[in-house]
C-alpha cells in the first residue's frame, strides 16, 4: 500500500520519509528550513523556504495556535482535522496530498505543514519575501501621468491595475509557464472588450511556451507574437499601469509576469510607438505637434545618416549649395571615405549608448562627458571626423531617444541605410525602404494589421493617430477589432 502511494507521488504517513523525499527533491538545498514539533504528542513538521516566508507572521498565524492545541490522547487525524477544518491560519490555505504539490507551494512562498501518520498536509500562505517598493517608471517617464510603475511582484501589479479599473469586468487569469521556473503569468483583460478569440488564442500561445525559465518579457513575446520573419514586433511592453489599463480598455490583452515589472501587450500597432501618456494631458494642438515631432524623429533617426551619405557620395545635386560646400570643405581634411567615417561614428555612438545603459547611474554621466569630449571635440579637432557629420549623428542620436520603443529597429535601419546608401545611393535605400514597408504592412498581430489604422485606413481612429484633436474622443469605446482590416471579429464569427 505504502509502495503504491509512494509510486503515485502521494504523501506518506511517515513524516521522516516525506521530509527526506522533499529534501532529496530539493537536493538538500540550504534554504529549505524544516521545523519539527510535537502537537499534543503528534509529530509534525513545518517546511518553508528561507526568505520566501515572513517568520514573524508565521509564528503568529501558525505556531501560536498550533502549540495551543491540546487534546488528550490526540491522534494524527485529530491534529489534521484541527489544521484543515477547525482553524483559519491565513486567507489562503490549501490541503495538499501530493509531494509535487508540496514542492510547488514551497516554491511559491507557502509554509507546508506535514503530520506524521497522515497522507495529507496543509499549505499556508505566508509569503514574506523581500520585494521592491512600487517605483517610478524609469523607462517610460512622463510629466503629468502617474508616478507608479508595475512591480516585480505579480500581486502588487495586479493591485495597481485593479485600483485603476474598479470594475468586475476586469479579469485576471493565472497561468504557469517555464518548465523549470514555473513562473506565474497573469492574463489581464476587460470582459466584453477583448474579443474571446483573442483571449483563447493568447492562452493557447502561452501554453506552448517551451522555455525553461521565464525571466523577462522577452521570454514570452516570441511565443505571443508568432511572427518569425517580421522586423517589427506585434507585441509591445509597458511598465506603466495607466498605459496598460488604457490598452486593455481598447480590447487588448496584457500579460503580467511574476518577477518582471513589465507587461506584454498584444496586439500592438506601429502607431502606438508614437503615443505618450502626456498627449492626453496636454492641449490637443500641442499633443498633435508633439506626435508629429515623434514621427519626424523616427524617420530622422532611421534615414538621415544613410541619406546624408548617399547624397554626398552619389547625389550632391540634392544638397543645397552652402551645405555641399561646407561638406566639401570639411571632408577635405578627414582621412577616411565618408561612408567609413559615418560607419565608425555610428558604431562609436552605439558603444557609448550601451555603456551609458549598463553603467551605474552615478558614473553614467562620466560616459557622456568622455563621449562628448572624445567624439565632439577631439575627433573633429584632430581631423578624424568632419564637423557636419558629427552634427548629423548628433541629430540622429537625439532623435533616437524620442521613440525608445523602436530603438532596435531604428538602430538596424540606420546602419543598413548607411551601408546601402554608401554602395548604391538612394536606389539601395529605396529598395530597403520598400522591403521594410511591405514587411511592416505584412505583419499581423492577432489578426490585427500592425500598420492599422494608417493602412488599412480607418478614418474613425484617425483623430487619435496623426492628430490628437479631441479630448473626449478616446471615450467612444472603440476597440482594436473595430479597425479596418482587423479579422478578429470575423474569425470569431466563423
Amino acid at each position: 500500500m505504502i509502495l503504491m502511494i509512494e509510486k503515485s507521488g502521494g504523501l506518506l504517513p511517515r513524516l521522516e520519509a516525506d521530509i527526506s523525499r522533499i529534501k532529496s527533491a530539493f537536493g538538500n538545498s540550504a534554504d529549505l528550513n524544516i521545523v519539527r514539533l510535537e502537537v499534543s504528542g503528534v509529530r509534525c513538521a513545518v517546511l518553508t523556504l528561507e526568505g520566501m516566508v515572513k517568520s514573524s507572521s508565521l509564528a503568529k498565524m501558525l505556531f501560536e495556535p498550533l502549540m495551543g492545541f491540546e487534546k488528550k490522547n490526540a491522534k494524527p487525524a485529530d491534529v489534521l482535522r484541527f489544521l484543515l477544518d477547525e482553524s483559519v491560519f491565513s486567507t489562503e490555505q490549501t490541503p495538499i496530498s501530493l509531494l509535487s504539490e508540496a514542492e510547488e507551494k514551497l516554491c511559491s512562498g507557502f509554509a507546508v505543514v506535514l503530520v506524521h501518520g497522515c497522507t495529507s498536509g496543509l499549505a499556508i500562505s505566508a509569503q514574506g519575501f523581500d520585494k521592491r517598493a512600487v517605483s517610478e517608471p524609469d523607462s517610460e517617464p512622463n510629466v503629468k501621468g502617474t508616478r507608479e510603475a508595475l512591480s516585480d511582484s505579480l500581486r502588487t501589479s495586479m493591485a495597481l491595475i485593479r485600483r485603476r479599473i474598479k470594475s468586475p469586468r476586469l479579469r485576471f487569469e493565472l497561468l504557469k509557464a517555464g518548465k523549470i521556473s514555473n513562473t506565474e503569468l497573469c492574463l489581464v483583460y476587460i470582459d466584453g472588450k477583448a474579443p474571446k478569440r483573442l483571449i483563447a488564442r493568447a492562452k493557447k500561445r502561452l501554453e506552448k511556451i517551451k522555455s525553461e525559465l521565464i525571466l523577462t518579457s522577452g521570454n514570452i513575446i516570441p511565443y505571443l507574437a508568432e511572427n518569425g520573419g517580421s522586423f517589427f514586433s506585434g507585441v509591445s511592453t509597458t511598465e506603466r499601469p495607466d498605459v496598460l489599463c488604457a490598452k486593455i480598455n481598447e480590447g487588448r490583452i496584457g500579460v503580467l509576469i511574476d518577477g518582471v515589472p513589465f507587461a506584454a501587450v498584444c496586439p500592438a500597432l506601429f502607431i502606438e510607438n508614437f503615443q505618450a501618456v502626456d498627449d492626453y494631458a496636454d492641449k490637443p494642438y500641442y499633443a498633435t505637434y508633439q506626435r508629429w515631432i515623434r514621427f519626424f524623429a523616427f524617420f530622422i533617426s532611421s534615414l538621415l545618416p544613410g541619406l546624408y551619405v548617399a547624397s554626398a557620395v552619389y547625389h550632391p545635386e540634392v544638397l543645397s549649395r552652402s551645405l555641399l560646400l561646407n561638406l566639401l570643405a570639411s571632408e577635405e581634411r578627414t582621412p577616411y571615405p565618408l561612408v567609413a567615417e559615418m560607419f565608425i561614428v555610428i558604431v562609436m555612438f552605439e558603444i557609448l549608448r550601451e555603456a551609458g545603459i549598463r553603467l551605474p547611474r552615478s558614473i553614467g554621466g562620466a560616459v557622456s562627458i568622455v563621449g562628448g569630449l572624445v567624439i565632439g571635440d577631439a575627433a573633429v579637432t584632430s581631423g578624424l571626423i568632419s564637423a557636419p557629420l558629427l552634427i548629423i549623428i548628433g541629430i540622429t542620436a537625439t532623435s533616437a531617444f524620442v521613440v525608445p520603443s523602436l530603438t532596435p529597429q531604428m538602430s538596424m535601419l540606420r546602419i543598413f541605410n548607411v551601408i546601402l546608401g554608401g554602395l548604391t545611393g538612394f536606389f539601395g535605400i529605396a529598395l530597403l525602404a520598400a522591403a521594410m514597408l511591405v514587411n511592416a504592412c505584412a505583419t499581423d498581430s492577432f489578426a490585427v494589421p500592425y500598420t492599422a489604422p494608417l493602412t488599412p485606413f480607418t478614418r474613425r481612429a484617425f483623430g487619435d493617430i496623426l492628430t490628437k484633436f479631441s479630448a473626449v474622443r478616446e471615450n467612444v469605446g472603440e476597440t482594436v477589432e473595430d479597425l479596418n482590416g482587423a479579422e478578429i471579429k470575423k474569425e470569431a464569427e466563423n
Binding site: Y314, H315, V318, F427, A430, L431
Partner: protein, 351 residues
C-alpha cells in the same frame, strides 16, 4: 491557385494604378509633339479598357472565385502557368526599363546589372510576404507619391504656358493612334485583375471603376502638366519621371531628380513584387516559387537590356496585347459563360 480573399477593393485599385503609372513614367517616348492627341488617345484607350474589363468584373461580382479553376477545374495549373509566363516577361520588361533608366540618368550610382539584381531581390522578398502586405504598402506608396508631387509642384520654378496646348490638327492622327495602341498594350492590369480578383474581399466593380477613373485623372493631369510646363523639352528629358521634378528647386533640396528616383524605385520594387506574386500563384511553396520567377525575370531583363530591345518592339507589343486579350478578356469571358451555363443547368435540374 488559391482563393484567399485578403485585400480590399481600394488596395487592389491602388496596386493596379501604381503598376500602370510606373510603366507610363518609365516609358521613354520619342517625338513629343502635342499633348492633346496623347490625352485623347489615353481617353479612348480607357474607354476601350472599361468595356474589355466587363467580363472579369461580372465574373467576380457574380461570386466567381478563380478564373483558371472555373475554366479547367483541377487541371487549371497548366493554364495558370500562362499567367506566370506572361507576368514573368512583364516583370522582366519593367526591371529592364528601370535598369536602363538608372544607366541613363544615374550611371555612377549603380550598374544596370546590379540594379536589376537588387531590384528583383527586393521585389521577390516583397512578393514572398504576400498580397496583404503588398496591398497595404501600395496605399502608403500612393500617399508618398501624392506628397512628393505636391511638394514638387509647390517649389517648381516653371510656369504654365497655355500656348503649349495646341488644338488638334490634321497631322495629329498618327500621334493619337500610336499613343492609343501603346496605351492599350500597357493595359496588362486586365490579366492582373483576373488573377488578383481571387484575392479580393469584395467590390470588383469598385476596384475597376476606381482604377479607371484615377488612372485617367492622374495620367491626363501628368500629361497636361508636362505639356504646359515643359512641352517639347520632355523629349530632351526622356523620362517622364524626371519631368515632374525638372523645374522644381528649393533652398533645402536643390534638385529633385534623385528624390524622384528614390520614390519610383520603391514603386518599382512594389509593382514587380506584385507581378512576381502573380507568377507564384500556381505554386504552393511560396518562398521557392518567388525566387524562380524573379530569377527568370532577371534573365529576361538582362537579355532585353543587353540586346537593346525596346519594350515597344512590335513582337513585344504583340505579346503584351495578345496576353491582354487571351488572359484578361477571353479567359474571364469564357469563365463567365461557363458559370452562366452551370447556373442554367443546375436550375434546370432543380426544376
Amino acid at each position: 491557385m488559391t482563393a484567399e480573399k485578403k485585400i480590399s477593393a481600394g488596395q487592389l485599385m491602388l496596386l493596379l494604378l501604381l503598376a500602370r503609372v510606373m510603366h507610363t513614367m518609365m516609358f521613354r517616348a520619342d517625338g513629343f509633339e502635342s499633348g492633346l492627341p496623347m490625352m485623347l488617345g489615353l481617353l479612348c484607350s480607357t474607354a476601350v479598357e472599361a468595356v474589355a474589363a466587363l467580363p472579369a468584373v461580372i465574373y467576380f461580382e457574380k461570386g466567381g472565385a478563380d478564373i483558371p479553376r472555373e475554366l479547367f477545374g483541377k487541371n487549371s495549373a497548366a493554364f495558370s502557368l500562362l499567367y506566370t509566363v506572361y507576368f514573368t516577361v512583364i516583370a522582366g520588361g519593367t526591371v529592364a526599363l528601370f535598369a536602363e533608366f538608372m544607366q541613363q540618368e544615374f550611371s555612377k550610382t549603380v550598374s544596370p546589372t546590379a540594379a536589376t539584381v537588387l531590384l528583383l531581390i527586393a521585389a521577390a522578398y516583397c512578393a514572398s510576404l504576400g498580397i496583404e502586405g503588398l496591398g497595404r504598402a501600395g496605399t502608403a506608396v500612393f500617399w508618398l507619391f501624392a506628397i512628393m508631387s505636391v511638394l514638387m509642384v509647390t517649389v517648381s520654378e516653371g510656369s504654365f504656358d497655355w500656348l503649349n496646348l495646341r488644338p488638334l490638327a490634321q497631322g495629329d492622327g498618327e500621334t493619337f493612334s500610336r499613343y492609343f495602341v501603346e496605351s492599350l498594350s500597357s493595359s496588362w492590369w486586365l490579366p492582373m485583375f483576373c488573377v488578383l480578383g481571387a484575392n479580393l474581399k469584395s467590390g470588383a466593380k469598385k476596384a475597376v471603376g476606381g482604377y479607371l477613373v484615377l488612372k485617367l485623372v492622374i495620367i491626363e493631369t501628368l500629361l497636361l502638366l508636362v505639356t504646359l510646363v515643359l512641352w517639347r523639352y520632355i523629349d530632351v528629358l526622356g523620362y517622364p519621371i524626371l519631368a515632374l521634378g525638372a523645374y522644381a528647386k528649393s533652398d533645402f533640396i536643390q534638385r529633385f531628380d534623385a528624390i524622384n528616383m528614390f520614390v519610383w524605385a520603391i514603386n518599382c520594387a512594389l509593382a514587380v513584387g506584385v507581378y512576381i506574386f502573380i507568377c507564384t500563384k500556381p505554386f504552393s511553396r511560396k518562398k521557392l516559387s518567388c525566387a524562380i520567377p524573379a530569377a527568370l525575370a532577371g534573365v529576361f531583363a538582362l537579355f532585353e537590356y543587353k540586346r537593346g530591345l525596346r519594350f515597344d518592339e512590335p513582337w513585344l507589343l504583340g505579346f503584351k496585347l495578345g496576353g491582354i486579350i487571351l488572359l484578361g478578356i477571353l479567359a474571364p469571358l469564357c469563365a463567365c459563360i461557363k458559370m452562366k451555363v452551370k447556373e442554367y443547368i443546375s436550375k434546370g435540374a432543380e426544376e
